[in-house]
């Protein structure tokens, strides 16, 4: 791989003053010169599809939250408020592209076709991973902050080496931008002009720490120092996110290298079900962002377009309820792993040492059963 350093461009970052937006809070369609050309195909039906996607993602999230409170899942990191950021970006990709995300990427997992019964197993502590990565082209969710950004860049480099125009998208949060791995990923993506999309969902908090602890400048400014073009986008505007994703994906496919998207959004729920956000933020702030709800905004936009919103809402509800039912059944009725599975998949070629430990544990378990007789 040869290293090419792009010339510095003062206009590398868009939206620093005001995040790029194409649907206003009241549903008005705004003109945005960078994004508009990428939305020419979005009619009423396409927007309704995005609406249904977001409703389904939210329903999955709220159902999982409830299942955790009811004791069926052990933990859940909610994404309430971030539906547009994930749905918009996910719909900018093709199935052949790859996603490398964090542990909060439920929207990506759902839209890429993760098997919900397997997905539930992660949050039930039955498995560390919840889908077949090679089936849906999405790496296992990543808990180590920012580690997946390097995997995304490596995948993109490999795609380029293969002569394909496949793209990798790596998703992470605002806190991750402080990690060495994310900064190294930016260095490598720039050096090798890797066809990668960096999606930073700035949900304003890394557990309790507000984003100003991570950065005194907009996060979208940072990649410009690495020579990577960047867009600061209204992350609660699904069309803006779709268009920004398309801009980034098209650049990557055309061989123009990496793009960074900062989705300015808000995590309205706790960091996870064990968190208590009242200790670090005001309810008024949450209400302010609730007023910018990404789903409500699309309803208003559909109304303005003259769509039959009632019908769209009804369709969304049917599909979301079906999903919730499927997910609940998976969570309630999943079969726990056997103790023997502890020893599976550590190595491709099992080691004598580990097989001996497996046999010892089996014998111990058998001895307990023998003693109980």
């Amino acid at each position: 791989m040869s290293i090419t350093v792009p010339a510095p461009d003062p206009a590398l970052a868009l939206g620093l003053d005001c995040p790029l937006r194409v649907i206003d809070l009241d549903g008005t369609r705004l003109s945005e010169p960078t994004l508009d050309p990428h939305l020419a195909d979005i009619d009423e039906t396409a927007l309704a599809d995005l609406y249904v996607d977001m409703v389904r993602v939210r329903r999955l999230d709220t159902e999982a939250f409830a299942l955790t409170r009811q004791g069926h899942l052990v933990l859940w990191p909610p994404l309430l408020g971030q539906e547009a950021a994930q749905v918009g970006a996910a719909r900018a990709l093709e199935p052949r592209d790859w996603v490398f995300g964090s542990y909060r990427e439920h929207g990506f997992a759902l839209l890429r076709g993760a098997d919900m019964s397997e997905f539930a197993r992660i949050w039930k502590a039955y498995a560390h991973g919840g889908w077949d990565p090679h089936e849906i082209n999405m790496a296992p969710s990543q808990i180590i902050i920012g580690a997946q950004s390097l995997h995304g860049v490596g995948y993109a480099m490999a795609a380029k080496m293969d002569g394909s125009d496949d793209v990798a998208l790596t998703a992470f949060g605002d806190g991750a931008t402080s990690e060495g791995d994310v900064n190294e990923a930016l260095v490598w993506a720039s050096a090798f002009q890797a066809p990668v999309v960096f999606l930073c969902q700035n949900n304003q908090y890394a557990i309790s720490e507000p984003v100003r602890v991570q950065s005194g400048v907009p996060l979208a400014l940072r990649p410009t120092g690495f020579g990577i073009p960047s867009m600061r986008v209204d992350g609660n505007d699904v069309l803006a996110m779709l268009a920004a994703g398309r801009v980034a994906v098209e650049r990557a496919r055309a061989g123009h290298g990496p793009t960074f998207i900062e989705a300015v959004t808000y995590r309205r729920g706790p960091h996870t079900t064990t968190d208590d956000p009242k200790r670090y933020r005001d309810e008024a702030e949450v209400e302010e962002w609730t007023a910018k709800d990404p789903i409500d905004r699309v309803e208003r936009a559909l109304e303005r377009m003259g769509a039959n919103v009632e019908a769209v809402r009804a369709e969304a509800k049917i599909r979301a309820d079906r999903l919730a039912k499927e997910f609940r059944a998976a969570a309630e009725h999943a079969e726990p792993p056997t103790a023997d599975a502890i020893f599976d998949n550590v190595y491709v070629q099992p080691t004598r040492r580990l097989e001996r430990q497996r046999a010892e544990h089996r014998a111990f378990v058998a001895s307990l059963a023998e003693g109980a007789k």
Partner: protein, 345 residues
């Protein structure tokens, strides 16, 4: 057919043959291209296979491993180089939390056939961070294989096995032995978990790996002068450890000395001696001994000869297992070295 190669050239030959044999094999690391690596181990490979397959990377160890992971998802078999042992720590998370665990995390659906080459060990007279033996950090992590080599032949064959393995492998290269010469037969095949008995003896077993195998062979030759038969085992694999071979030997000798350059605490010798005591306690005639680096940071190299396991310390340990007084003061080191080199081949 054999050829005479230095250990560094044997590594180079293994890399070249792997690149030649499989177009999904890539090399990536700092200065490995035009320069041929700081030890010239990758000399000529970029010129031969091109910068697409022998990649000079930016200076970021975590990214070397992290991006190699991404390439593995797409079916590449990446051989990464960490320039020096002491430079591996920035990549620690990517190695122990990612490379090691992705197969487990994905329940067998993701394969990480990475090889991580690490020149390690001392006796090169260098400055801080250039002489360490960090193998135990990785041996402690499930999902990684950790191997090393003691001769050019072992280096060639074990590295070929490491690259061919679908499991991730850390391949520790004894940089102090890079210029050791030996016969290499490229047809010799090695697995990644069988130890090798390199000298037979009935009285004491010395288990060694990497750079200390040669020292152990010298000890065996010196001890033979006094009628003591030392069996020398080249462990080859640090994780998993071939405890069976060592236990088999100790059942015959009743005495065990373990040697390595790494500090003693929570080390390969800790694990090996524990395993032998667990499985061959009744066969032991004496408490096992170990001859290792001390539990200090690696010292300034002007005094590294006092830190590293030496022939004299090893012979003292052999004597202790036999209940003999330590008396080696008149060794002909040159003769022992050349004899041991012959035995190592």
């Amino acid at each position: 057919m054999t050829e005479t190669l230095t250990l560094a050239k044997a590594v180079n030959a293994a890399l070249a043959d792997a690149l030649e044999g499989d177009d999904r094999v890539l090399l990536m690391g700092e200065d490995i291209g035009k320069l041929g690596g700081v030890f010239r181990v990758t000399d000529g490979l970029q010129a031969r296979f091109g910068p697409q397959r022998v990649i000079d990377s930016p200076l970021a160890e975590s990214a070397i491993i992290g991006t190699a992971i991404g390439m593995s998802y797409r079916g590449f078999r990446v051989v990464t180089e960490i320039q020096f042992d002491g430079f591996i720590y920035p990549a620690f998370d990517q190695i122990v939390a990612q490379v090691a665990k992705l197969r487990y995390r994905s329940r067998g659906r993701v394969t990480m056939p990475l090889t991580i080459r690490v020149p390690y060990g001392g006796a090169i007279g260098s400055v801080e961070h250039h002489s360490e033996s960090p193998e135990s950090y990785f041996a402690h992590t499930a999902g990684l294989r950790v191997v090393t080599a003691s001769t050019p032949q072992e280096a060639y064959s074990t590295l070929r096995a490491a690259i061919a393995s679908d499991d991730p492998v850390l391949f520790f290269e004894p940089k102090g032995k890079y210029y050791m010469k030996g016969e290499v037969d490229r047809a010799v095949v090695r697995d990644l978990e069988t130890a090798n008995v390199v000298a037979r003896g009935r009285d004491v077993t010395i288990a060694a790996y990497g750079p200390t195998v040669e020292t152990a062979l010298r000890a065996a030759i010196a001890a033979a002068d006094e009628g003591i038969e030392v069996e020398v085992i080249d462990l080859r694999s640090i994780s998993p450890l071939d405890v069976d071979t060592v236990v088999d030997s100790v059942r015959r000798t009743g005495r065990l000395v373990v040697t390595h350059e790494a500090p003693a605490e929570s080390s390969v010798s800790s694990e090996l001696i524990t395993s032998v005591v667990e499985r061959a306690f009744a066969h032991l005639e004496a408490a096992p001994e170990r001859v290792t680096g001390y539990d200090t940071p690696y010292p300034p190299s002007s005094v590294e000869h006092d830190y590293l396991p030496s022939l004299d310390r090893l012979l003292d340990a052999v004597d202790r297992t036999l209940g003999r007084r330590n008396s080696r003061t008149d060794l002909d080191h040159d003769r022992l070295t050349s004899a041991a080199m012959g035995a190592a081949r």
